[in-house]
Symmetry: C2
Subunit: 269 residues, 2 copies
């Protein structure tokens, strides 16, 4: 079992920018960084110890033994088909939204998924120690190798198959994209009424802290949950006067809270 | 200007439970706690230094000079009409959803609003120092007295009129009730597929931290924002197979993200 991997990073976007330095910090070596755009490959390579930038996909002479494909979802299959790999190479992708089979046309039989469940952005550092790394592989040798690699980065290493990962991905859309959009909506509404959005931050932070402490089902409050139709219709009137598109979102979520609460979904006591 | 207020707390629910001890810690005296239910009034009164529990609304002999009405929104008007107050009493309510005029029928002309913008729950302590306290009053003497009181609790004291407070209240529904409901939806979806919801907590916490650091407009990502129709339709298929009510919420928010992004609302650069 390899302790330290020689790794080629395919892609120089947000995931690669965070993952490559974390892998180096975990004792691994990044040999190459690939991007179609030379400037992007070079920028990330300069940020690393010994990595070389490259803009072609011929890795047949590479000393890397592990190839991490961290490109956008719709580019994975195409990039992988074009890659020339050394024999016995292991190739993994980092996507929550793509199945293991997205790598089926790679010129190696050793394939896997190495999905760090986090949102990565430029100029925001995140600690990998607490990020769940979700692994999948097509054989147990590969899986054990990925477990070892993941454990060198994170305390949260999980085996998650493609079907589960797809569910996790849509759940993450609710928990990240959609919650953030609701914050955008609140920000916009307040901004347009000369109210400072930062007034809401103590509330937003307590919302998350409370959901974590007692679970979001126990934490739910508000007019929709208590069927306070008077407050709901007051809110609807306010939002209609502001922007009917806001009303649609308000009503869709309010209706769902009302039916969700009455259903048998309340598995927490 | 009074430095230390003698205060009667009208109500013994979550707001009263958090506010009364904070007021004592700020150097004020809680003289009485009112609740219709004797046990509730007594329970909170015992938690305080010298407060007496009472179940009737005759405060004509009370030594309190400030009456804080922290009852449910729909009870405010009725409770206030029934209260007998000493002369020159000041009465305030603590509601985000009610205008100043909810106190119009009080037997005093000194009325105000003292709205701490936070979600309060039993058994979760919160620090008042960072909670915005939103104030309104019908004259400047009252307002200055409330400012002094609020500053003895919090570093965030804001003057917010009834119309602004109503907007703040609906914004808080988006930022708290609705975001929490999305977390509930994610939790339920994962639970029903034997996935551990706690996998999402690093993502949820980074979502809020990033929104705070760069603003939620800059922080928005995901398939809806980038019009990734392939991923969206894959998510819709998954959710339809699970529960069509989930699809409705997914599509309502996705549509709004798509129109919101294309509109002129992008005031951040």
């Amino acid at each position: 079992m390899k302790q330290h991997e020689k790794i080629a990073m395919i892609g120089a976007g947000n995931v690669a920018w965070h993952l490559a330095p974390a892998l180096e910090a975990g004792g691994h070596q990044i040999t190459q960084v690939y991007s179609r755009q030379a400037a992007k490959a070079e920028q990330l390579a300069r940020h690393l110890y010994q990595a070389k930038a490259q803009t072609h996909l011929d890795f047949s002479e590479s000393e890397a033994e592990l190839f991490i494909v961290a490109v956008s979802d719709d580019a994975i299959t195409k990039v992988v088909q074009q890659m020339k790999l050394p024999s016995e190479a292991l190739i993994v992708h980092t996507s929550g939204g793509q199945p293991l089979e997205a790598l089926a046309k790679a010129s190696t039989e050793h394939i896997g998924v190495f999905y760090p469940l986090q949102t990565f952005s430029q100029r925001r550092s995140v600690s990998f120690r607490e990020i769940p790394i979700c692994l999948e592989a097509n054989d147990s040798d590969v899986l054990h190798r990925l477990i070892k690699l993941a454990r060198s980065l994170s305390r949260q290493v999980k085996l998650i198959n493609s079907k589960e990962r797809a569910l996790l991905h849509v759940s993450a859309v609710f928990a990240n994209n959609f919650t953030n959009h609701l914050l955008r909506m609140a920000e916009q509404l307040m901004h347009d009424h000369q109210l400072d959005f930062s007034l809401l931050y103590p509330l937003i932070e307590e919302t998350v802290a409370k959901a974590r402490a007692v679970g979001p089902t126990q934490a739910q409050t508000g007019p929709a949950l208590r069927n306070d139709e008077k407050t709901i219709s007051h809110h609807v009137n306010q939002l209609n006067a502001y922007d009917p598109a806001y009303t649609e979102v308000y009503q869709a979520i309010t209706r769902h809270i009302q039916t969700f609460s009455r259903s048998s979904r309340e598995y927490h006591e």
